[in-house]
């Protein structure tokens, strides 16, 4: 791997193409509506129907899950497709249910028969780096590190200051995010709330380390919840088609504005989106974090490297 090597190609062609595209953008920008122009008809329509038709005081929510519900439906499944792609791309070669220990057994045998490991120097270096990353006799938090220990921080969790701050902030953050989506006050409902839930999980991960959230953040559990969210959205939209004759139409009774059920199906869709976004982003992030090396040779692709 050549990290310090900065390959560049076709700088002149790239600059020329970029300049050409910039000229196109400038030409396009000249004809755009500015801050003194009236809103386009579609925006005015969205503002006009939000209260009378959907009983929502939050027009962005009404656009996301009501008027433009079908587009959001498509985008949701685009998100799902992206999450599935990441799962497929990051999966280990063998899906397995348990720990069989053949890697450890192989290492013992290797130490007996061939203590000087053969193989490319790059691979040996990468293996050493991986062993260094795996949990050894590291302290769980910096608080338990002896004073005056040289070298960078090696603990898995962060210090008591960070853990205390995270412990204080977490409930507030989680409740605030869920409150906003429950009452339909946050623009976009489930999208930002899902990002907040992901942020809460990442804060716990950063402050306390992987082992503290390993029980909750399991891909089997998260994938189940994500599929349940997708099912909820699909069911909500299909019931509109069955009961009202139009996909993503409202089929629930509308409560007065600024109550939990004020948006009808908008709130249901928003909750489904909350599950989708929260579990989807969490799966994606932890899949990327746990991508391991696969050192076994792949005979089928050997010929490709010519």
């Amino acid at each position: 791997m050549s990290a310090d090597h900065q390959p560049r190609r076709h700088v002149a062609v790239g600059a020329l193409l970029t300049a050409g595209f910039a000229a196109l953008l400038v030409a396009g920008l000249a004809g755009l509506p500015r801050e003194h122009d009236p809103l386009p008809p579609i925006a005015r329509y969205a503002l006009e129907v939000a209260l009378p038709r959907w009983k929502l005081t939050e027009p962005v929510n009404e656009v996301v899950y009501g008027t433009r519900g079908f587009d959001t439906f498509g985008e949701t499944f685009l998100l799902l497709a992206a999450v599935l792609s990441v799962i497929v791309l990051t999966r280990p070669r063998e899906g397995r249910r348990g720990y069989f220990g053949e890697s450890a057994a192989g290492q013992e045998e290797q130490a007996e028969l061939d203590p000087i490991e053969t193989g490319p120097a790059e691979e040996q270096e990468a293996r050493r780096a991986e062993r260094g990353e795996s949990r050894g006799d590291r302290p769980s938090t910096p608080d338990s590190t002896p004073l005056g220990t040289p070298g960078p921080e090696t603990a898995e969790a962060m210090s008591v200051v960070v853990r205390g701050a995270v412990r204080t902030v977490l409930p507030v953050l989680a409740v605030a995010g869920l409150y906003l989506v429950t009452w339909g006050y946050s623009p976009g409902g489930g999208f930002p709330a899902g990002a907040v839930v992901t942020g809460v999980i990442l804060l716990v991960y950063a402050a306390y380390g992987r082992s503290r959230i390993a029980r909750a953040v399991k891909s089997e559990t998260l994938e189940g919840i994500e599929m349940a969210g997708a099912g909820l959205i699909l069911g909500t939209e299909l019931l509109g088609l069955i009961l009202r004759g139009s996909f993503s139409a409202n089929w629930l009774p509308l409560a007065p504005p600024q109550t939990i059920r004020s948006g009808g199906v908008v709130q249901l869709f928003s909750f489904g989106e909350l599950f989708e976004v929260a579990t989807g982003l969490t799966i994606v992030i932890f899949s990327l974090l746990s991508m391991g090396h696969d050192w076994s040779p792949d005979p089928e692709s050997e010929g490709d490297e010519e």
């Binding site: 090597h5 920008l29 801050e35 579609i42 005081t57 027009p59 962005v60 990441v86 990327l288 490297e305």
Partner: protein
């Protein structure tokens, strides 16, 4: 002057485009794509802005809803585009990055020119 925002979005987009066209480091290409993506958020939010406009939120149910659209509020439709684009953008960037990590593990390089298996 909302035009400044539009120009800034165009500049950020062109920076991303230039990075994608000239860099052969796969991580930098993904960063260029992310820049292009981020410039569209700035562009759409700026396009939604109107002079002295407030967020498109009704504080209380107004007396005559048909007059709503004549007040100074930002465009809710473009804000909605931006909102969904952010989440989709994160997921798509994650797909790019997982492909890049797999390429790096398989070919032991991040240089797109040295990933020779891709040259059909």
């Amino acid at each position: 002057m909302i035009l400044v925002n539009h120009v800034a979005a165009a500049v950020v987009f062109c920076l991303g485009l230039y990075a994608v066209l000239t860099h052969r480091n796969l991580i930098k290409m993904v960063m260029g794509l992310s820049l292009m993506e981020a410039s569209t958020y700035l562009f759409m939010i700026s396009l939604a802005y109107r002079d002295k406009s407030t967020a498109p939120i009704f504080l209380s149910p107004p007396k005559n809803p048909e007059r709503l659209a004549h007040g100074n509020v930002a465009d809710p439709v473009l804000q909605n585009f931006c909102l969904t684009a952010i989440v989709i953008g994160v997921a798509v960037t994650a797909v790019f990055l997982s492909v890049v990590v797999r390429i790096a593990q398989h070919y032991r390089t991040l240089d797109a020119d040295r990933v020779r298996g891709m040259r059909g």
